[in-house]
């Protein structure tokens, strides 16, 4: 990993068109601004990790689980029709 020291207001350029600027440092919190083209996705790392965890938790339910949820969804649809009318 490349390690650089930066002061508030200074930036790091990644590639030709991604600029990360240190905006503010207070205690152990650093605010950074990211300027990047629209096709470059910028996300908090832990958020992406959490999406992966939720996907993994959702993967491959058992046949019994699917049948149970299917029943619950059908019952719900028949008892409370919350679908918007066209």
């Amino acid at each position: 990993m490349l390690v650089l020291s930066r002061r508030v207001g200074e930036s790091v350029v990644i590639g030709d068109d991604v600029v990360v600027t240190v905006l503010d440092v207070r205690g152990d919190v650093v605010r950074v601004g990211v300027r990047a083209p629209r096709h470059v996705l910028v996300n908090r790392e832990e958020l992406l990790r959490e999406v992966a965890e939720v996907n993994q938790a959702a993967a491959s339910p058992s046949d019994a689980t699917i049948a149970g949820l299917s029943r619950a969804v059908s019952q719900r649809a028949s008892t409370t029709d919350t679908r918007p009318t066209p």
């Binding site: 996705l41 999406v51 939720v54 938790a57 491959s60 689980t65 149970g68 029943r71 919350t82």
Partner: protein, 137 residues
Amino acid sequence: MHTDEVVVPDEIPVLELVEPLRGFPDHNKFALTRVDEAGVLCALRSLHDPDLRFLVVPPGPFFGDYTPEIDDETADSLGLESVDDVLALVVVSVGDSVESATANLLAPILVNHRMRRATQVVLNDSTLPLRAPLVTA
């Protein structure tokens, strides 16, 4: 661009993910099938590994006011030409019991059902839950 209510087609035998689901980098082709006749509960099954499947639902019947906004880059990557082409699905985690089932509203799967392409997007809206209760919704 907003997603409208679209009925899940009977089946999409080969759905190509333009980006793999996070956590499953080796799977980019899935089949979308209905689990119930009404087409509410559906399954996404990996064509690379038939043991890998996900339950998905269209959000409309559960989360009526949920309208994920599709950015231009995602629309381009899916080849979307019209809002009629797009179908939003949310991934369901059942967990220990049916009552505890949740849906991921932060990262829906957007499907271009005309071109049979899909992608899971992480929406830029921190108020959307990763685990929204489903059955009691």
